[in-house]
């Protein structure tokens, strides 16, 4: 059996070379149809490339789901200022493990995506920002970029055209917040990775104070396919509002965790029961986090009708995020897991904004108290009150992300909190 797990219902577009080591070389990639998107991009010109991406309806895969073509069109016309393209490969949202696979199996697909995007926006330098922990992935990426330079696919006069695009592999040094776009820009400037106040938006003032566009690895990986085959072609998958395919990173209590590329709009229960082989050990489902640790938890009721597209998950009370589906079975202690997530945000808070800097450790303390059996019902009100003050009050959304699992878990799994709170009281009486 080839690595990784493959399911017949998958539509393997950006993941088509997973498990195929020969695709890592430039020749291997070209034999599999690679770099045709770049050739077509040079034929049709930058404006037409942006139009194709707009027509495809591709939405940013990093979590926010902003339409990619529209984002690209915000870039000013090429002028005296240099433009920059940044590829966000700082994959660090808990539950997400797609970008490492995209990079280590198919580095040239990402390079091609970067080149097309840079070309479309008149950018002559693309930085691929990898998180510092990705040693293997950065080795593969570095070798691929080097090969692209040697063979005339990057650098000066790409493929004999007039287009010059530099590509640089940049390796970070460990900080969740550098996955936030303006935090990443500060980090790329050698500063602390603290998010910036917007506006000005990156398209006007980005990295090195120049017009900048930043895209996720998975977004850029889809671009060559869209440009090669056209925006309408991409729309054959997915829904009207969420076209195309998406990698679903399934982790937690399922038989076959892994990355599965499925059309958006795929039913959540079928993902768990069919594609992932059901719950591990045949246990019952308790809760799902559909988009990485920053989105609200769902209970079984929410999951049943939920389809995995941006609007579908929103209707079920959560967010698709980067489609990192974390599955929890009936033995899971929800309070403990929520505490673990909030503890993470406390660790990763950059400390610029008071609600986040003070709120995340405080929430962790309260949750720990409840977990240890020393909580009261008033603690739940305190948590909800803190959550309200931490939502929409800070520079970036880290603080909102910390509040999301707390609020949703108190809403949906209040009984679990109460059991811990009153369990201790009952024990005292006994």
């Amino acid at each position: 059996m080839a690595y990784p797990y493959v399911h017949e219902r998958e539509v393997r577009m950006i993941s088509r070379n997973f498990g195929d080591p020969a695709a890592r070389t430039l020749d291997g990639y070209r034999e599999r149809g690679g770099y045709k998107g770049l050739e077509r991009a040079f034929e049709i010109g930058p404006a037409a490339v942006i139009d194709e991406v707009k027509a495809s309806g591709l939405r940013g895969r990093g979590g926010a789901g902003f339409p990619t073509g529209l984002k690209w069109s915000f870039m000013p016309k090429a002028g005296v200022k240099p433009h920059y393209l940044l590829c966000n490969a700082d994959e660090s949202e808990p539950g997400t493990f797609k970008d490492r696979e995209l990079i280590r199996w198919d580095p040239h697909q990402l390079i091609e995506g970067c080149l097309i995007a840079a070309y479309a926006m008149g950018s002559r330098h693309a930085y691929i920002y990898l998180r510092g922990e990705f040693f293997e992935a950065s080795q593969v990426m570095a070798r691929a970029v080097e090969e692209a330079y040697e063979r005339g696919f990057a650098g000066r006069r790409i493929l004999g055209s007039e287009n010059d695009i530099e590509v640089t592999v940049h390796v970070g040094a460990g900080a969740y917040i550098c996955g936030e776009e303006t935090g990443l820009m500060n980090s790329l400037e050698g500063r602390r990775g603290e998010p910036r106040v917007k506006p000005p938006f990156p398209a006007a003032v980005g990295v090195y104070s120049m017009p900048t566009t930043i895209n996720n690895v998975e977004t850029l990986a889809a671009v060559p396919h869209i440009v090669e085959h056209g925006g309408e072609w991409y729309r054959q998958w997915g829904t009207d509002k969420s076209p195309g395919t998406k990698l679903f990173c399934v982790s937690g209590h399922v038989e076959k965790p892994g990355n599965y590329e499925l059309p958006l709009g795929f039913p959540m229960m079928e993902l768990i029961e069919d594609v992932c082989g059901g719950m591990a050990g045949g246990r019952a489902l308790k809760s799902v986090i559909p988009g990485g640790s920053s989105v609200p938890l769902m209970d079984v009721e929410d999951c049943r009708e939920c389809t995995l597209c941006y609007e579908g998950v929103e209707a079920a009370g959560s967010m698709l995020g980067c489609a990192s589906v974390i599955v929890m079975d009936d033995r899971t202690n929800i309070v403990r897991e929520v505490r673990r997530m909030v503890q993470f945000y406390a660790h990763e808070s950059c400390g610029q904004c008071t609600p986040c800097r003070e709120g995340t450790p405080w929430m962790t303390q309260v949750l720990r108290r409840i977990e240890a059996g020393g909580g009261t019902e008033a603690d739940l009100d305190t948590l909800l009150d803190m959550s309200a003050q931490m939502t929409g009050t800070t520079i970036c959304v880290l603080s909102d992300s910390a509040a999301a699992p707390v609020v949703s878990s108190i809403e949906k799994f209040r009984d679990e909190y109460l059991a811990l709170i009153h369990g201790a009281e009952r024990a005292e009486v006994a």
């Binding site: 059996m1 080839a2 690595y3 990784p4 080591p21 070389t25 240099p82 994959e91 660090s92 949202e93 808990p94 539950g95 997400t96 493990f97 970008d99 490492r100 280590r104 998180r131 510092g132 922990e133 990705f134 040693f135 293997e136 950065s138 080795q139 593969v140 570095a142 070798r143 970029v145 080097e146 530099e166 592999v169 940049h170 390796v171 970070g172 040094a173 460990g174 900080a175 969740y176 790329l188 400037e189 050698g190 500063r191 602390r192 990775g193 090195y208 990173c249 982790s251 937690g252 965790p257 892994g258 990355n259 986090i289 990192s324 974390i326 899971t332 897991e337 993470f344 660790h347 950059c350």
Partner: protein, 220 residues
């Protein structure tokens, strides 16, 4: 089953459970293709630097000479300002010295023409910079949500127990430092553990003694 026979534990450190997939570890991890990087870092576009990569560190190494000087010069060409080259330069310094001491910060500041305080501000922000020396093997165990659901904390405890260390402390023989780490982006293959530059995946508490033994005998 084609994982190398010399691997004495269930998980050879790559994504996937042994026995289920027919690719070798090298094929999955890319080591067969990547091989050894040239000392000078190769093309300047791809001469990135990595925080803590070597088990053998030299805290007194010169910043920078020989191939490291070449890599440093290449890094400088890729960024429009000296300040922007700071993180790759610090990575390079740590790769060589194993940690970033206050003296190292001053030296890096002088190399790039920055104020020491600026460098200190940056270093203290990032978790991968070791502010004090660590063991030959820095063991980072993920206990974030997906790993936590699959015994992350137990694996962490097993590492502490079998190395006989406290969290963040280095074992008496100087071999191991065990720390807790936030999500390593290998959530589908819990528990994820990073040892120096390398990922070990699907680690269970019972794997820990054999894993440590392998490190002692074969290195990373």
């Amino acid at each position: 089953m084609s994982a190398p026979a010399r691997v004495p534990f269930r998980n050879p450190g790559w994504a996937g459970n042994t026995g289920e997939f027919d690719l070798t570890e090298a094929e999955v991890r890319g080591t067969d293709f990547v091989g050894e990087r040239p000392l000078d870092g190769g093309h300047e576009s791809a001469a990135p630097s990595y925080p803590y990569m070597l088990p053998d560190k030299d805290p007194d190494a010169v910043l920078f000479e020989g191939p490291y000087r070449e890599r440093f010069e290449k890094i400088r060409t890729r960024y429009p300002t000296a300040r922007a080259a700071l993180i790759p330069t610090l990575n390079l310094a740590q790769e060589l010295r194993g940690h970033v001491s206050p003296e190292t910060m001053d030296e890096v500041a002088a190399l790039l023409g920055l104020a020491s305080a600026e460098v200190r501000g940056t270093v203290t922000f990032y978790t991968m910079y070791n502010k004090r020396p660590v063991g030959r093997f820095l063991i980072q165990v993920c206990t974030n949500i997906s790993c936590s659901l699959c015994k992350g904390e137990e694996v962490l405890e097993a590492f502490l127990r079998h190395t006989g260390t406290e969290l963040g402390e280095t074992s008496g023989d100087g071999d191991f430092t065990v720390i807790e780490v936030e999500c390593l982006a290998a959530c589908g293959f819990p528990v994820a553990v990073q040892i120096n530059s390398r990922y070990y995946e699907n680690v269970l508490p019972d794997d820990v003694p054999a894993l440590l033994q392998r490190l002692r005998e074969h290195g990373e």
